[in-house]
Symmetry: C2
Subunit: 208 residues, 2 copies
Amino acid sequence: MRIITINREFGSGGREVGKRLADVLHYRYYDSEIINAISLESNMDEGYVSSMLESGSFWDFPITYGNTFASFAEPQSNLTRLLVAERRVILDIAKKGENCVIVGRNADEILHGYHPFKIFVYAEMHSKITRCMEREKDGSHMTEKEMKKRIERIDSSRRRRNQLVGGGKWGAKESYNLCVNTTGCEIKKIVPGIADYIKAWFESGHAE
Amino acid sequence: MRIITINREFGSGGREVGKRLADVLHYRYYDSEIINAISLESNMDEGYVSSMLESGSFWDFPITYGNTFASFAEPQSNLTRLLVAERRVILDIAKKGENCVIVGRNADEILHGYHPFKIFVYAEMHSKITRCMEREKDGSHMTEKEMKKRIERIDSSRRRRNQLVGGGKWGAKESYNLCVNTTGCEIKKIVPGIADYIKAWFESGHAE
């Protein structure tokens, strides 16, 4: 079984990298169905789950919980319940034994024992702002300055959530097998090269 | 013209990545001939040039010179003469207009205006120690502990030299287009994937 986990800066195109990698490699791609499964598992509304896990409500949570995930077993709050559910859902995916791509969801940490190939996708701020403005051009009417703030807030939340589940350093290259800078890149064009690299990596003797 | 620059942690296999990339892509590979050209340019002995630029004699040099490269024009010491010569040699290579791979030598900074594809190659310490011990198995008789110290010393020197020529942050992923973790990898097997990625990167509209 081959698992690819993707962490990414908001606006870097990491989710698109994940989808396209799964396409090119014929792997399962997990995304919204994870939120769905967590919602079922935790018995909480899907929209609520999504906003809790995506938005950045982590600021008020004591970071000292970092390495004591065990104590999460006793639900102390909705957030801990969600993180416990997330852990179970992600582990269940791995137990299916299929090759897959998982974007975000702390999968890199949760599945560490399965030796996934870990990617971090990042980009320069101007590139992330452009990508976000492009993506939402018919939706919100944020200024570039507001968008920059939003990007920074979401990334802070991702970093913090990663620490919370006892992860390596979010965004530090040492925590990943490959770090891809998408500044100025058309994601569609660069994905086949990443796929080739990953195939070679698994074939060069890495545990499967 | 396409230029690939490679920076690397000592023992990560970065030089082998460079050689093999040049082979696979049919690019010129520049390495020892750069030392040779610097030696001619600066009128200093090749062995001396090599030890000055490779070994880590940079500790005593004031780091405040960082962004004032212009003042280097007046030779103040052998080191400044060498750095000026290095700069000229690297720029001359670029002026030839050939596709090429350059390992180290601050080429990423010196050739910034040519929009090179910048790679950083790194690995976990245990992997770097193993690679170095393997490489020198018939030569020196360093212990693992001594080897670790040597690796750290050489990388400190590289970091410092990079700062000295006004570079971005050495080893920080933001300074590169791709960061490759070679821990547990057979370099030969992963290089074609990197080559595919680079081809796609240049073809996806990056300045040439």
